[in-house]
Symmetry: C2
DNA sequence: GTAGAATGCGTGCATACACACATAATCTGA
DNA sequence: TCAGATTATGTGTGTATGCACGCATTCTAC
């Protein structure tokens, strides 16, 4: 009961759990010669987007990654043939990234690995109710930051 | 109700909340010309340790950082005069890092900034009960990974 | 219509990071 | 006692990441 005196325990727990679980998942993926997490995340978002394509900026907003990193990852994915980059016909400044058939195949192959990693290193230690609670709570934090970013435009 | 069909929503929420909040907090610290988070974390752990000193390895185990990074950060902190490094009298291989009076002063000056950042960008959006729940749940994940690491030795 | 502001994107550069290796010290089993 | 295994740490090196900047395009006010 005394340990809730630490008003920053939740933040510290997020920091540590994120660090530990992510490291373990990434190592599993690397051992299996799968694409790294950043690439997976980009392919996932593209695949879920309408038309399987997204402007670079929208991609950066959805993914966990910074705009610079998105630019580099998409360039790498393009070299690998998993993604195509075409100029946006409606806005000459923008670039549309589209996932290719090859990219989708890779995504289908990698997804089970990634999901197994999350199950093994994270979900496994939590009840369904705990996961629901975490998701609901943290979503408020995420939404607030998203709103602030939208405001800044 | 249908959105709890996603068994990985909690993991995704941790990923996003961590990314968004951490970025915001770090930017605040940088704007205030404070020491970066890694340095803060190291000083914090040292200050809380018995005798205000810790072997490099123990430091790495407690902090969120990798062993390599700890080594470099401590070297930097030593150059700044915030930390002293002395050989462990009981084990010639080990190095003891000790926080100096200057380091403690810096820590006292920085702590309010950091705590304000956590309050502003994270705690603020959660109730006390939600924070308690998050801490308790994620602690299970942390403990499990810690146990696995200990086992590997 | 046009000049200037704003936007979307990519890239040079400096920094940060982890992996693998090197070094020094300690432990272990005869 | 002593050779080999183990442990604690530091560091060279390649890779990754973010910031600041530059270029091209679009928008806006007149």
């Amino acid at each position: 009961m005394a340990d809730d005196d630490d008003p920053f325990g939740a933040w510290r727990a997020v920091l540590l759990a994120h660090s530990r679980a992510l490291r373990a998942i990434e190592q599993d993926l690397a051992s299996a010669d799968a694409i790294p997490l950043g690439c997976y995340d980009v392919l996932l978002e593209l695949n879920a987007a309408p038309g399987r394509r997204l402007r670079m900026q929208d991609l950066a907003a959805r993914a966990v990654l910074s705009r610079t990193r998105i630019s580099r990852i998409v360039a790498e994915l393009e070299r690998a043939g998993y993604v195509e980059r075409d100029p946006d016909p409606h806005d000459g400044r923008a670039t549309l990234a589209t996932i290719t058939a090859t990219g989708r195949a890779v995504l289908r192959r990698t997804a089970p690995l990634y999901l197994a990693g999350v199950e093994q290193h994270f979900n496994r230690y939590l009840t369904r109710a705990q996961r629901r609670s975490i998701e609901t709570s943290l979503q408020r934090v995420i939404d607030a930051h998203q709103a602030e970013l939208d405001l800044r435009r």
